[in-house]
């Protein structure tokens, strides 16, 4: 008996990335997003590719006999992947709702080729901010004296804390990460050896997440 599906390892016309690598990327992105105080670049092309893959697999599964032992195994795997995707996107939505104005502001400073929000998220963020503004206007701002009616200035304090401490594992050797000292201690330089694990502030390693040298755990 030959297993005839799941072999379609490549998707997209020009992007030849094996399905299992896409999945791994999403999994890493999921955990990074979960533990990172800031909003990371969206992996929406991977989400989309993976959702297509799921759809395709589901279609293929209907062709199998219900008693085939593989049916349940594949369904189980699909449920696991769906969990990763939904949990990943939920986490992002939560962050977007938390620091909406800040995130939108940051997005305008980025080049259009390098957005951190997916199109859907960008629309969502805009709608959500408008919703909040309208609500505050309705209930508070339109009832207070004119000089106190501004909404945007109240959003300035809703920002991620980049000084938060996070746990990480180094995926490759990184030398000379500088940890800022406080008034009593001097700056400290740390080398992250491949596979070593650390707890430290997010800020000094922020760019190492982007280039994949560290994984948040």
């Amino acid at each position: 008996m030959e297993d005839t599906f799941g072999e379609d390892d490549y998707f997209g016309e020009d992007e030849h990335i094996p399905a299992h690598e896409v999945l791994q990327t999403l999994e890493d992105a999921w955990l990074n997003e979960k533990f990172c105080p800031d909003l990371l670049p969206s992996q929406d092309s991977y989400v989309e590719a993976m959702m297509e893959q799921i759809q395709q697999m589901e279609d293929n599964l209907t062709k199998l006999k219900k008693t085939d032992f593989r049916v349940e195994v594949h369904h189980m795997e699909l449920a696991r992947i769906r969990y990763i995707i939904t949990s990943y996107l939920r986490t992002r939505i939560e962050k977007i709702e938390q620091n909406t104005a800040f995130i939108l502001e940051q997005e305008t400073t980025r080049s259009p080729e390098n957005p951190h929000l997916s199109e859907g998220e960008l629309n969502y963020a805009r709608e959500f901010l408008a919703l909040q503004e309208n609500h505050q206007k309705q209930l508070v701002l339109k009832h207070v004296p004119p000089p106190f009616q501004d909404f945007m200035s109240t959003q300035q304090s809703l920002v991620p804390n980049l000084r938060s401490h996070i746990f990480l594992r180094a995926k490759k050797d990184v030398n000379g990460v500088v940890i800022e000292g406080d008034r009593d201690t001097r700056d400290e330089e740390v080398d992250l050896e491949e596979n070593s694990q650390h707890i430290m502030q997010y800020k000094p390693i922020a760019n190492l997440i982007h280039d994949g040298s560290v994984q948040l755990i």
């Binding site: 929406d44 989400v47 989309e48 993976m50 959702m51 297509e52 759809q55 349940e72 369904h75 189980m76 449920a79 696991r80 769906r82 969990y83 995707i85 939904t86 949990s87 996107l89 939920r90 939505i93 709702e97 199109e119 859907g120 998220e121 629309n123 969502y124 709608e127 959500f128 919703l131 909040q132 609500h135 505050q136 309705q138 209930l139 508070v140 701002l141 009832h143 207070v144 004296p145 000089p147 106190f148 109240t154």
Partner: protein, 198 residues
Amino acid sequence: MPLTLTQRCCHLLAPLIPFTVVFIHLSDDDGVRQVFEEMRGLYDQNVAAANDSTADPDGTAISSIAIRHAALERNKRCLMAYVFNRSKKLRNMRWQFGSILPPEIKANLCEPEIQWFNSYSKCLARYMKSIGGQGLNLAQDVKPPKSLYVEVRSLIDYGKFELDNGEVVLLKKHSTHLMSRAQCEPLIIQGVLEQINH
């Protein structure tokens, strides 16, 4: 009276502190209205004082103005925090109860809040429809999957329910069923069913 007034604001806020109360109560409409009135009063006094500075050669009017201004800012902050934190609760309700609120909860909301809830639901639905080109319900798959089927017990008389395989079951109080995880998850979250632990 800036002092009594900001204190009133704090009374409004107290029940919203995390950990103490999860449930939300009727907004203290009367209290809020009074705060608005007092804010207008303070503002008028400041405008008057500013226009009248000629009658105040020693310049001390500026101190009273600064204090009233601070009180106005403070009140704005308290009121907005009150509205903000209530909307945060409403947000969580959307994720936990679904897009339809139980009537007992709805009774504790003012009209703009019900509107906010409905708009939020719509906004979220629009986003979820856009995901990956085909749409994805993010209110589902909230826990890591352990198995495809789950044994559940009905906690209420829910009525007839069609299973994935087309079979129709009657969900009666205490009745037990084997259901696909995907299907029963929302019902468990909403408190219709409970998962039986072995």
